[in-house]
Symmetry: D2
């Protein structure tokens, strides 16, 4: 039997207990410590079993020889400071989304992890749900053909956040998932964001993101805190088939439609354009069965696999950085009435590993 | 008993027969003539009863003293020529959408009708469906409060048109409906349009329109020819209630949600902004019963009512012109990567009558 | 090119025009005559084209040498008289459902057709919808395995009929379809019917039919005139797969579930019973694409095919008779508080041809 | 502040922990003890807080002066013995469903509780869900008018139980709910049950229950372990309105339809029957908002309320007994091919308290 990896969870607030529970349930991991400035809170989480110790000093955790990795579940503004300290101590790092508060911080974290040969993983939990894993598998094996468009809707009567707008609250999910699905990650040619604040709350409550992609494709994200009905749906159109993910339909989350439009492309005057010949496929629909595994558990197992295999995890720091750069470009576009805005990032760093 | 109004249908192709059938079924109207360059086609339609005569000469129709109005169901490029001739002959005019091929032509038509004291009506058939009529009634009586956002989706595996893009094919429906619903009509502060042509068909097959409105509100339209599933849904969020129209759910087309977010607006430093106090309403949902009347029949009755009452019809030429100016601005925005574009129009003409 | 068969439609009321339209549109058929006691009504239908003549005398139609077949769309009480006269004149016969007003009449019709070597076909239109044809194909090719249960629901806010109860109004559809789907037809071991007449209308408005089948299987039909929502759904459970037909979901009428329960049957004490070993399959779901063909058109083509091929049609008189015997047994069971009742029929006649 | 009632949970297996958790969270209750033959199991549950003691001796629990009530979560065959002992010790009793293993046992329990002036409550948890509570409220206030029919469907790919058939596994939920909803409880004139065991598992896997009610109304229950799709739906038709409960649609669990059929009842020959006049209402649909309270918590609060108020709880022993007598009659009907069977019970005992 292989030896367990030992992890400390930093932050025992909202998300920390979920991480702790899944580290405990995984045979790959031992939850060695829980660290929180509020020692009582750390203790309550630590005491739930497994000999976990409670700490209020980050320095003590990072100094400990028996800890291989840390999982950071603290506010975004602290991610850079804690991550760089952990990497400096030789610990692998899992960071809750968003990766960092600024693109510069995120890029620095990615650079340091690469330099240190350590795993830096973004906690894009949604990517590890059975539905998204199956979607990635279908795209990888070519079931959809080339991607033509992605339309994602995530709307609900949502809690208006005091500090972030609807883009920062909801769109990271869509962006992380699209980044996970597209071979090579989500690398839009530009980002346009338009938002509305009709309640005069001081920040956008309704938002639309447009992301032109390579080869004429396009991704679009609709996020909304004011919808009375809850919708979580993504349509991914491909040249061969089209996939619809309806996350609120447990009886049929994924539907793969063998329907579409085929154009007979002919070379006219040296320019590739569609000729008159358009044909339509109206084939079967197929809904793959999905296992009932918990996403967070699959994610902590992937973290272990990356550390043991000395490889990048599926949602590595670069993926987190790509999401961050898009959110950052969206913020700038929003300030310019939706003007198409280039995502700026150290592309060498954000490149696929 | 009042005397029937006498109408000639111009164009016996795809839409003309629908108009003819409804003029025949209405007690307000007598279908006096059908006119088509293809006299055989005109005859086949005329012969279906009611003593209708067939004509191939537009001039003959317009010269006839016994004809009060014409309904034009010919290609958009002919609308201006036929309409101005008909108005010059003192005929009231109903024009199939779009009102005209250019904003200038449309504005000219509106101006001439106003100058001549004649009715110019846009054939926005969708506005006369029981669902849309009920929506307008609800908004008028204040059931929704102030409009915060409108999100319209009209996607389907659609016939790729040889001459128009997905905006000109599908969005006129959404724009005409929104124009009909908003008190004062749809008068966006700007228009942004982004589209994708991933099949390289030479025109956009996927499109998104963003329309910032007064008071921070926003309308958004998603049109798509490549979706394997058919969606025709509009969400209209208001300060008091939110309405969802699902046109493909005959058992519950309209749902009115008494749910929403309330902000306690307080004056801070003289600036109206939201204070910390946010509250949520989670009230009942209500789905009004709808009568089963045919939209086109309601429309021809409205045409008669406007002529007899010497008033503007509910979807007058100005409404058609407003839709046209938005489509025109969308075309220009599309060419500039979605830059926010001002709709240009003779606002005096497009103003509410 | 083959010669067209010539048919007369008897009865120009509600259903006759639908038959006439489809005979006219089929290249197999020429609509030679329309016959109705009300000659004006016959004329209006005949005049719609194709040189069809109008008749008010059945005798004249049956005496005509140029007529190969008749399609009877008259009240059920007249079916026996008209059919036997037509068969005696050597005409093939298509009869609207129900086949006859009594089992004896139906059996007599089946016997005479067989004796005369003529086609007697039951107008079970629903069996020729693309969905039901696909369901039959799936069952025939073994996609479902052995049938375990069939549950059919057909409920709606329905017109309360003056002369028939909800069983005779709605259940013939379900029974004809199940008869069509089951290899060898629907031959229940018994029939139990319970009904309710809570409005005191004098006949059942809510009804349940239970039909135990061979090998422990069971069919059940729920018909209801008082439901505010419309449901038309059939679940067919098999040992290999289970099929759900939702006729009101045009986007996914058929779903085939590769899910189910498997028992490892072991012989215990010489008695075949289930041992402890139960396993569950939770496989994919599949929704076959369906063509958009009109059922009535497919039915008149099948009528022609049976006549030309000197074979039984897919829904022959025996199928109509089986449905009739079940309705008859249901009537008797209903009178005895739902006691299990044997369907009585001349089984030699109702036997599969 | 009022003193807390003190309860012991008997049985720490599957259901006991849920009871324990809700007694702990309720301000009405103190969880004094957990009792299980397996003392370790009792300890693990007791140790979760609140100073609860663990016991393995039922006698010790019942002898304790500081315990007011017991909640029994042991196998059905033990309910009678434990309940009678608890009542003899002056404890109030809450019993998991089914109330007892036989009607005689159940009636004896009800009789002893009444004689001792103690509360005997059936753990019909589903009745305390927000949806069912709202349904009862609507029926009580007359929103539906007189009940015409109830159709309940509870089907799923279910675990085939080793010891019970699909009726005993699933139908108690439907019966308890219908009993809760009908004023005066569910008192069918007869019970008919038909089942199928097409897998030869030794017990019914598909079942239908028919329950004729007073005044021509009828209840019907469909339970099924072999359905690939999960359905939990109840339609309750009334003279004024009809209610549909779809428990798997969290966005609209309850829909109240103002639709229906109205008959003008006229006295004909002294017999009340429907005359020709039938009219239809096609009014609005309304979906009441529901609070998000946990059913089990509402139930333990009701238990406390009944004890303190010296009144019958909403789901008292008589309700449990009524459900038991129907299941018993269903068992006998099933053995006689669905013959209508009278429920036998000491009606004086099962009568409304």
């Amino acid at each position: 039997m292989i030896e367990k990896l030992r992890v400390a969870v930093i932050g025992a607030g909202y998300w920390g207990p979920n991480l702790a529970r899944n580290f405990r349930s995984s045979p790959e991991w031992e939850l060695a410590a829980v660290c929180d400035l509020d020692l009582d809170r750390a203790r309550r989480l630590a005491e739930q079993g497994g000999g976990t110790r409670a700490e209020s000093s980050l320095a003590a955790v990072l100094a400990a020889d028996d800890i291989d990795a840390v999982a950071i579940a603290t506010p975004a503004t602290t991610h850079h400071r804690i991550t760089t300290a952990a990497l400096a101590s030789g610990k692998h790092v899992l960071v809750e989304k968003p990766l960092a508060d600024t693109v510069e911080h995120g890029a620095d974290m990615v650079g340091r992890a690469a330099a240190g040969g350590l795993v830096l993983m973004a906690d894009h939990t949604y990517c590890y749900t059975p539905a998204v894993l199956k979607m990635r598998e279908l795209i990888e094996e070519g079931a959809l053909g080339d991607i033509l468009f992605i339309d994602s809707v995530r709307i609900n009567l949502g809690l208006i956040q005091p500090d972030v707008d609807v883009f920062w609250d909801l769109a990271p999910h869509d962006l992380a998932i699209i980044d996970f699905l597209l071979p090579g990650g989500l690398r839009p040619l530009a980002v346009s964001a338009v938002g509305a604040d009709p309640l005069r709350s001081g920040k956008a409550c309704v938002g639309y993101l447009t992301l032109p992609l390579q080869n004429g494709a396009m991704a679009h994200v609709h996020v909304n805190w004011l919808s009375p009905t809850k919708v979580r749906q993504m349509i991914i159109g491909g040249t061969r088939r089209t996939l619809v993910w309806d996350d609120l339909n447990p009886q049929q989350r994924l539907s793969v439609y063998d329907r579409g439009v085929d154009l007979d492309i002919q070379s006219l005057d040296g320019v590739e354009r569609s000729a008159a010949t358009v044909s339509y496929r109206l084939g079967d629909t197929w809904s793959p069965a999905l296992p009932e595994t918990e996403a967070l558990r699959s994610m902590v197992d992937e973290f272990a696999g990356a550390i043991r295999g000395r490889r990048s995890p599926r949602t590595d720091g670069r993926a987190g950085l790509r999401v961050l750069t898009i959110l950052d470009a969206a913020r700038r576009s929003l300030a310019e009435d939706g003007a198409a805005t280039a995502p700026i990032a150290d592309l060498a760093l954000a490149g696929n590993s």
